[in-house]
Amino acid sequence: MPSQELRRILAESGAPGAGARPAASHGRRDEAEIQEAHVVEGGRFEVYPVGPPEACPEAVAFLDGAQQHEVLTYTGAVPLVSATVAAAVRERHGRDLALAGAQRRHLVVGRAEALDGLPRIPVDVERVEISEDEPFHPIRDLDTAVAMIDRARRELEVRVGTAFRKRSNAWLIVDGSLAISPAWAADPRMLSVSKSHATLPFGGDELRRYLQLPGGHRSSVYQPDTSRLAPVYAWGLRLWPWQGRDLLFGLVRVEAAPTPETLVRVDELSRWLLAERAPISSADARWDRLLYGIHSVEQYLRAAHLDR
């Protein structure tokens, strides 16, 4: 990790060290909200059984990204953050997953005065500046840094996904949202699976029915409000029965290209995703929503590119 080298450089320069690693340092930040969506299948919200799990008969690959950051030091009160972002694709050959592409970036994020305080920056570390237009607050600066790191990770995911698509026509299942990239959103052989429900598509009784989807059922296909992002079709899918557990247990949001074919194949695509529940990603607390292929990419990224 370049953090260690940066810390050494800082120690040599006499700068004070910092050991804080924010609680969400491995994850991304979501804000809870309801963004009303528009049902595009059948005109009104419904709940449909998708049928028994059915493995995708075609080639499939999984894409995910990961990030890690830590506060290196404070120049006065100005934090300096070191981060690593990485993304990878693992493609299934037969029943085995193999690495099909990966990239990593090391970042050092902070205000210019903090970055300038570094005697030098290692060649493989990118300098990322927080704009001076933002009023200074050490905690807000940290949030800003994390948001910048999030963005860097998403960019890297898109870069890795695009590179994979150039050489393979396999189905590509992405952890997160297709809407972050217009190219992804338009790709008829990509699906995304989001475990996060901070942004919900309905309110009222539709929301209740959405959150109480039975196991192996899906919601109507809807189009989220994507004024800031690329348009996609989405639906909710319950991978595991939730009764006796949490309302969000086993619930994922699936996104696909906004095409008529998606509406035709939504049950088939859902059955593929149901089949991907197994093997269970039991080493992860989010196993109820975490497809094993995505889990495998995360395992790789943690082992090869992050400090766990």
């Binding site: 493995a55 029943r95 991907e276 197994a278 093997p279 039991s282």
Partner: protein, 645 residues
């Protein structure tokens, strides 16, 4: 030294499973040529480590077993998961050698390679003794793993002495492994034992069936066997010369062996001992309760003063005794008992020996010729191994399979003792003798009585290497053999093992995977411990270059037991195949069997150029039967006044 092959694994170490100077872990791809018994090389900066794989593990990322059930919806026959779980294959490497050897350090993290030919030689320290002018390597088999094949050799100095010696082989019966392995190894020794180390011969006790009865006949080999021989630099040829010895059956003419086919008779000799040969080993045949100090003293008296000497005791009889045979001994005892009976009260003791002790010794010794009939003769004829004339690379087989167990003990004890005596005096004819004994657990059991044979084996295993007397012993259950006997075997060989045997504490140093491999070891594979190998090594060996026992019996069916005259004819035809059996049968008709036997044994010992005339001469002139006239009787007295006449 090593070809630049791609690594097949990498060393890893954790706090829970650290690397040590003797053991380490490495992971491999899921599909790997590595298996239990494979030799690998770890390359790290400034250090090279050679190791043999002794254990394997596989992990998946399944955190809880229930998750596998849930994923399959509780149905084992349910559809396959679309993706295989991530799995880790890890192996334990047991260190064979490190370079540098000093300072000895934990195995470093580094890439792991499969061993090459040269690596195998280096890892097993064979480079020290398989090359150069004074090489002492004896090929024992091929190490084969991961597509790599390399000859493995034992060090003659550590197999036949003087540094270490003896070989012990264990394995379940019926897989033809123990006998085949020893036979192959003896063949290898005879071909490769270096001349600068002296001469060597083999002596095998055939203790069951036809196992070792055809060592002089070529066996059937398959192409793979021939390839292994070529790879080891050996020639697959039967032993030569081979001399077979077997006692007679109770009739004193038919040999007590399965090697009685006429085609093989010329190289099969009778093993016949007399009183002198037996008396020195009386203790073998008499149990400890029989041989108290008093009986021992009387036996010593007989051996020192009576047997084989002219013994004079005017109180017994005026003519001196010349006791050379059991019959002579019986005559001596009869005279002695006549004397003490004559003495009556006060005659219970003769020359400080109590009459009860004398009677006990007489009874026991008298039984010997009965219990060992065929081996021990009453008449003093002896035919023994060629003491003093053992041939270099010569194989001597003594077939005791048909003998009473006690007689087997006698044969075993006397022959090994004689070997020892001659090797001590350096007049055996060879410098080293490898003695092969099967069923060692019978002769040197871990538990059981402290017999003469067991004490002799202990002595042999502890001191034989200085003499060049080397024990190649086999048994089904090593754990049932006396610890000092197996412990003194410098080289230990294991074939397929019984699970219960492997559970014995003696195998505690083997890993569970090594035990599992041993329990399923295929025919033709062995695990070897040798002083130069710091870990056991698995090797493959070819079929021995000789006819296997069962095949031999089919190709050379034993001649059936025939009546006395025909049996005599068969024995003589073994000396002279041109001899007409009918002539011999006619010749011995109406002759006393004892006379015929004596003449036959004399002829066999002399092996004359003209067999029949010599036999005739030994048989002597026929004494014509005398037909006596009718008894002359006194005629009755006739009287006229006999009222009943």
């Amino acid at each position: 030294m090593s070809a630049p092959l791609a690594p097949i694994g990498r060393v890893f170490a954790t706090e829970q499973r650290p690397s040590t100077p003797h053991q380490f872990l490495f992971w491999t791809a899921r599909r790997t040529p590595v298996g239990i018994g494979a030799i690998v090389r770890v390359e790290a900066e400034g250090r090279t480590v050679f190791a043999v794989v002794t254990e394997g593990f596989a992990w998946s990322d399944l955190a809880r077993p229930i998750d596998a059930v849930l994923a399959a919806d509780g149905d084992p026959a349910g559809g396959l998961e679309p993706t295989n779980r991530a799995e880790m294959r890890a192996y334990v490497g047991a260190v064979l050698r490190q370079e540098p050897e000093d300072p000895l350090q934990p195995v470093p993290l580094g890439p792991v390679h499969l061993a090459t030919d040269a690596d195998v030689a280096h890892a097993l320290r064979m480079d020290a003794y398989t090359s150069g002018d004074a090489a002492t390597g004896l090929p024992v088999g091929l190490y084969a793993a991961g597509g790599v094949e390399a000859p493995v050799s034992l060090d003659a100095d550590f197999l036949l002495g003087p540094e270490a010696a003896h070989l012990n082989i264990t394995g379940v019966s019926g897989l033809a492994t123990k006998t085949s392995a020893v036979t192959f190894l003896l063949s290898s020794i005879f071909q490769t034992f270096p001349t600068h180390k002296g001469t060597v011969a083999g002596l095998c006790f055939n203790v069951k069936g036809p196992d070792l009865c055809f060592l002089d006949q070529p066996g059937e080999l398959q192409a793979e066997d021939r390839r292994i021989y070529e790879r080891l630099g050996l020639t697959p040829s039967p032993f030569h010369p081979v001399r077979y010895y077997a006692p007679y059956k109770a009739d004193g003419v038919n040999l007590n062996t399965l090697r009685t086919n006429e085609a093989l008779a010329a190289t099969t000799e009778p093993l016949v001992w007399g009183l002198r040969e037996v008396l020195d080993y009386a203790e073998v045949l008499l149990n400890r309760d029989d041989i108290d100090a008093k009986a021992d003293a009387f036996i010593d008296f007989l051996a020192d003063r009576v047997v084989g000497k002219e013994f004079v005791d005017q109180s017994l009889r005026t003519a001196p005794f010349r006791v050379a045979t059991f019959a002579d001994l019986e005559e001596f005892f009869r005279a002695l008992f006549d004397f003490v009976e004559l003495m009556g009260k006060g005659g219970e003791v003769w020359r400080t020996h109590h009459v009860a002790t004398i009677r006990k010794v007489r009874n026991r010794l008298g039984n010997i010729s009965t219990r060992s009939k065929g081996l021990v003769t009453d008449d003093g004829e002896v035919n023994d191994l060629p003491w003093g004339a053992f041939a270099d690379r010569g194989m001597y087989v003594v077939d005791v399979a048909g003998l009473d167990p006690l007689a087997q003990d006698l044969v075993f004890a006397r022959i090994v003792s004689k070997l020892r005596e001659h090797l001590e005096r350096r007049d055996l004819g060879v410098d080293h003798v490898a003695v092969f004994v099967d069923e060692l657990n019978k002769y040197a059991p871990a538990d059981g009585p402290d017999t003469y044979v067991r004490r002799m084996l202990l002595d042999l295993s502890e001191r034989g290497r200085y003499l060049g007397l080397v024990l190649f012993a086999a048994q089904q259950f090593r754990s049932q053999v006396h610890r000092r006997v197996v412990g003194n075997a410098g080289t230990a060989v294991y074939g397929r093992m019984d699970g219960d045997e492997l559970a014995a504490p003696a195998y505690g140093t083997l890993s569970p995977a090594t035990k599992a491999k041993l329990a399923a070891l295929p025919k033709g594979e062995l695990m070897i411990r040798h002083p130069h190998f710091t870990q056991p090594i698995f090797v493959r060996f070819p079929r021995p270059p000789v006819l296997q026992g069962r095949d031999g019996v089919e190709r050379f069916p034993p001649a059936g037991e025939v009546p006395f005259p025909q049996a005599v004819a068969r024995r003589l035809r073994a000396l002279d195949p041109a001899l007409a059996a009918s002539m011999v049968v006619d010749l011995v008709a109406d002759r006393m069997e004892d006379d015929v036997r004596r003449a036959l044994h004399a002829t066999e010992r002399a092996r004359p150029a003209d067999t029949l005339p010599y036999f005739k001469a030994c048989l002597g002139r026929t004494v014509p039967r005398e037909v006596r006239g009718g008894r002359r009787t006194v005629p009755g007295v006739a009287t006229r006044d006999d009222p009943y006449a």
